[in-house]
């Protein structure tokens, strides 16, 4: 499936605070958007100074930003109990983390992604510090962090520059057909994207999953 249309998102709520990251702002602001856009070819160069530790840092950063456990984000993650950065991020059939990592590296014209990864590495023992420190950073970093949150939740890339400039209809791209199916927003809501569902026949007759389902945010509680 390739989405060949790119369209502005009408009626999307402008992000009032361009320089503050919260999940509530991200999801509430973006959930009303329809993210159907062209899939651009990936640039050849991916961001990866140190691929192994950078991927772990990306997962730590993503866990801090999204509130979703890294085991959910990377189902085959094998953690090193002594040094989290030495963990094996693993390979799973979808491997959406790799898609996102490469996409961000290819679409960050600043050095913000590297700085965010370093921030995650430096705060790997206390992930709760990451959001406050991001919010105290330059706008480029803040807005890239916001794009990362939106990417995980919606499978779509919101141009950080447009977020920074408070563009009412930011440019949005669905990253890939798989990304379209993997948005966390669907799992949180107990729903599915249009045209794609893994939920069993008749699921609509049942109560939706609890949005705070501990399994999503902490797989040890499933």
């Amino acid at each position: 499936m390739r989405h060949r249309r790119q369209r502005s998102v009408r009626g999307a709520t402008p992000f009032v605070q361009a320089s503050v990251v919260t999940r509530r702002v991200m999801v509430a602001g973006a959930v009303a958007t329809t993210a159907v856009a062209a899939v651009l070819p990936l640039a050849t160069a991916a961001y990866a100074a140190d691929p192994a530790t950078d991927m772990i840092a990306f997962l730590l950063l993503s866990e801090a930003l999204t509130g979703v456990s890294r085991q959910t984000l990377a189902p085959e993650l094998v953690e090193d109990k002594n040094e989290i950065l030495n963990s094996d991020p693993g390979v799973d059939p979808i491997n959406i983390k790799n898609t996102y990592f490469k996409w961000i590296g290819d679409h960050d014209p600043t050095s913000s992604f590297g700085k965010l990864l370093q921030l995650a590495k430096d705060n790997r023992q206390s992930l709760g510090n990451i959001i406050p420190k991001v919010n105290g950073s330059a706008d480029d970093m803040v807005c890239l962090a916001r794009s990362i949150v939106l990417l995980w939740y919606l499978g779509s890339w919101y141009e950080p520059d447009d977020l920074k400039n408070k563009v009412a209809s930011p440019r949005v791209k669905v990253v890939s057909p798989r990304a379209y199916t993997q948005g966390l927003v669907w799992r949180v809501a107990g729903a599915h994207p249009m045209g794609y569902s893994n939920l069993q026949f008749g699921y609509w007759s049942r109560d939706p999953r609890d949005p705070s389902s501990p399994g999503l945010f902490d797989p040890s509680k499933t």
Binding site: E76, G90, V91, P177, N198, Q200, F201, G202, S205, R206
Partner: protein, 525 residues
Amino acid sequence: MRHSLLLVAAVALSLVSVTSQQLPAQTAGGTTVAAGLACNGTRILDPFKGPLAGTDLPPALLQISDKDKSDILKSGLPCQENVTTGAQADPTGKEAVGLDNLQRGFDFYSWRTFIALNSPANGTPVDQAQADTPTLWEDMHSFKQLLDVMLPSDLQPPIWPADRAGMEAEQERLVPRECREPHQKMPTRMIVKMIEESFNEPFKTGPLIDQTGHYAIFEILMNRQMFDYIMAHNLNTKAGQAGNSDLSVDFPAGQNSDKTVGAFMLKISWKILSPSEIQARNFHMADALVLMPPPDDPKVGRKCLPETLGLIGFHAVHKTATRPQWIWTSFEHIKNAPAKDEVGTKNLEGPYSFFSVDCGDHCPLVNATPPRPWDPDPKLELRFRGDNSFKSQIVRETPLTQEAKNMNRIFQSMLGSSVWKNYMLLSTQWPSAFACTSLHAQNPGAPAPKTDFLKQPDMTCSPAPTFLANSTLETYSQGDTPLASSSCIACHENAVGFQRSASNPQPGKGNLNQSDFTFMLEKAQ
């Protein structure tokens, strides 16, 4: 199935001797005998020395000792998968990625399953099997055709006696009227009753036409464990299903610990062999009487045609205690169609059954469905068009992984001159999210339903690989487009029957009408 053939060939054999011949691994310590099929509960890991990843197959991987070869070829049907994220039996045989080690374990399971089910029913070693040697799965002890279970309401319900005489009598009872005369003349031929699903691919995406202009033919079968479950719960009729609306359909699962086989279903694809193909003996062959599908005009009679069929595709699907999403094994003949990348590089080794290498400027569109109408014309019998104006031009969209190619080379080398060296594993699809599968798989001894899908509405548990298509069975659903492309588990999780349960069931009484990953129940009449 060639039940009648076996009847004649084995008429002098007692039940015990037939069973022991069919199941050479039966004498091994880990094997047990169930009615029809036996399985081996011993944990067997592949002994191959070295990783299978990489384009060049290390020579050591093809140096299989006689003992290892014998152990594998005679290991019998696995009761359950034996997989690990680490090394297989040989410590050097470890892939770099945990998921690849698991895939390797499942693929090894699939090859063992394929060999066990296709081993000669008469006990001949599989590496000596000839093209026309009847297989274990074709034996009436092992599997039963779906259409011999889902009978019209004016027939007595199906039975599956334990004794061969009883099975033969049941088989005779179900010979269609149109086939009785040829059946009397050719009693050894299996009978294939065609319905729309016998020539039209899933989701009515169209028929597959070979290079001689004939339809490919599809067949669905179940093992005795599935049959017993269906009959025990009255699921063989629409009325029976409707009257059992509170049942959460939960077929028995295979398990190493108690050596139970569990539910197995097969989907087979055949091509009609030409005289030269019969002579070449490169396909597993079965002499058959093919009953044409019901024509639109009831005044037109259904013909029952004697044909020699060649095996071109083989799906084996097995439910196990740890994989309640079932394990989906897909094989096909190596000369069905080239892979897309082979076409691109002109690395073709034809002739192929469903691809012309020399059609030049007149090639049909690749992977295009045939022009309508699709239904067989009774006058043309099993030819698609009288003027042979259309032949499918099929390529395999998703190439095999290097690991699968290498495992195929190993097994094909072990199969010597057997006809089975002409078949290859495409892949095995399995649910990869173990935390998710554990939500569904309940402990042995737990009350029914043992498979609990109420805890987790997403029943698929992240299939690996995400997509899997056989070029003869999901020809027009190949690719990697979510939902549109073939994924065994993601498709079959939508299977339902004719149960009609409450739309909002109470906790503990939930039943969402799901039929446990099989569409078979939809064929009830």
